[in-house]
Symmetry: C3
Subunit: 281 residues, 3 copies
């Protein structure tokens, strides 16, 4: 275990993101698309949300990372085209399997996408990752909810699940929740950053996925370090935002603005100091 080195690499990953201004091709849902664009900009990247199948390959080809958010289920064809083009060029691809187990359409779409697109990082909550791990035969809907919260008790099982899925997909798996897990093959860490307000706004998960794209795009060949950096950055930004929201006497909308603010103002040294990483790396 060498978490001070992960802390260093996270700071370095953020530094590179701000310096490289990576173009992040993000195909994402209409609910939180504006937040995703703004968080990419806050981290130092440039977003493009092109999602027309007639142009996504051209756009993906000149991007530094491609982000595919299954909330935009109607854009599945565009996602596969963009993801395959990225794969051909060695451009990192980040997948968010939004509500993966909630309908037959989503289960089948996930299977299709996993078969056709090589993934670099997959991020979901515990139930979404579980839906991918269990496979398309699952018939559970949104009621997979119980599995959604990683507690001290369920942490070992979550780490195991993430590692297994990582080996199967040959990708970094990031599970977000009260405790976040990041796994790649035999490596796994968990992070205790974050706050309760993150689940009282829409977009915390989608924004983290977009942030993973930005950081991975600027740190090619280092997806595990990039994922730890992005997951930690979002969680730590949540803590700073909670504190600021309380000082201002605000509610959830204030929290949301403070969250993006915190990402936009975070320095590499601040990030290094704020990360709470544990694990068996």
């Amino acid at each position: 275990m060498n978490h001070s080195s992960l802390r260093d690499s996270a700071a370095e990953a953020l530094r590179r993101t701000r310096a490289a201004n990576p173009l992040i091709h993000t195909i994402t849902n209409f609910v939180t698309v504006n937040d995703c664009a703004n968080i990419i900009l806050a981290a130092g990247g440039s977003p493009t949300m092109a999602h027309d199948p007639r142009e996504v390959e051209e756009i993906a080809a000149v991007s530094q990372a491609v982000v595919l958010n299954m909330g935009a289920i109607e854009d599945l064809d565009a996602m596969i085209l963009a993801g395959r083009e990225a794969g051909r060029r060695g451009i990192p691809v980040v997948l968010d399997p939004v509500a993966a187990g909630a309908s037959r359409l989503r289960r089948e779409s996930c299977v299709k996408l996993l078969e056709q697109v090589p993934l670099t990082i997959v991020r979901g909550n515990a139930s979404e990752i579980k839906a991918l791990a269990v496979g398309s035969s699952s018939t559970r809907g949104v009621d997979a909810g119980g599995a959604d919260i990683i507690t001290e008790k369920t942490l070992p099982a979550a780490v195991q699940m993430a590692g297994d899925l990582s080996r199967r997909l040959n990708a970094v798996i990031a599970i977000s929740g009260v405790i976040d897990v990041v796994a790649l093959d035999g490596r796994a860490v968990w992070l205790r950053n974050g706050c309760a307000e993150m689940s009282r706004i829409t977009g915390s998960g989608c924004m983290l996925t977009a942030l993973l794209g930005a950081v991975a795009g600027a740190n090619r060949g280092r997806p595990f370090e990039a994922a730890v950096a992005a997951v930690g950055m979002m969680g730590f930004a949540g803590e700073l935002a909670q504190q600021r929201m309380r000082e201002l006497g605000g509610g959830t909308a204030t929290f949301r603005a403070c969250l993006i603010d915190a990402v936009s103002m975070m320095t590499p040294d601040q990030l290094k100091g704020g990360l709470q990483i544990e694990g068996n790396e």
Copy 2:
């Protein structure tokens, strides 16, 4: 008349919403979809914005309420599928007939939806409700505007119109404006909460519709009380937000954040104290 009991039931409706965390299936327009998701979360619900016809019935079936916002006119088929599934299961359906009279497409779509989906609550401004009341033969466009503002003088006519439409649709009718009207069959109340800034941001109406879904979903079998609670909650939140915006020296974007903040922080007792209800219940 017993408005202290409506005040009590509104407080109770909010308490239940926060406790039940209802899943609100919202098919809504892309302009304000993020605000709608955030207001549902602020009230204590969980939003899902699934709108693909291939999955909306599955999603509606496990939801506590279905919200149909005609601003998403291109999703009419999905709305009808979700609404009918909700109807089969006794799940409350809330309709927002956005710009109902503004085009032939909208008039025809409204007729189709009213014929096929059993509604629990319909919310619009005066001109939208009038467009439904008058029916599809109306050829007026967006210029129905004059009818948009309920004044002391037009209040009796608005109450009458709401009651008549309520009987015809067998649903609660909520008309929002400077004065808000809520009617169910012979019952009708009006609320004097709210502020002018609500019409200087986009989404006040759509957010109220989403909030109606959240509160109705957690208070099944009590749609009139739920509607009074949600309408009053949004209006009172507007007053709190106006006050806060002025303290901060902000403009319309500050107001919008303060509005969602106020909903997220509102306690049942605060709501009870803030409601300004009158009427002939």
Copy 3:
């Protein structure tokens, strides 16, 4: 040169916008559509984002301006229908050629739109305007980026390009960047308002385009003065927002709220005092 008269006409253009409450039919992309609606409201207009081909002609016909944002590339048919209807009625049409050179689809769509829709104002950054000026034969993608920033050195060339394109399209050309250029035939001015934070949020460009629609819609027959007013208003609002963000100790999300706030609170006299106009008018 008579810039005090342009300052006066800008103040007058804002005064008219607040008084006329113009209906602005905006067909725009899903990333920043909410910001566009809110900036139109902040300026005193009323937005409608109808984009279904079956109704856009009816909606355009009763609007005071039509805004076409090519970010919504999937809505090209609706844009052409709305734009042509506006043309038939003498209603101003504002075009934003988002990422005009970034894909073959966008180049071809621009050509099609320019052929079929009479334009009143075109606004883009330097590379987008360059893509239109060079025409569809260009094969450069998003990497036209170098041309994106207008510096003192490139200003004369940018003014020349804007003037040439203005004559070709018979429309006002507005190029936004560190320095903004507004040209109509032989007239050209440049504005030094604005701040760096505007490029760290999404939507600055789209919001300016929407604002151009609002101001042009309330000032028919004076598109050059309207464009100078809107471009200056957005830049000056950026300066006010930057100052306020710093006072509040906020980041990019705070800046964005302050930007819309500033537009919503700006008085004609404030605008007149804040404009930094130069040029050869």
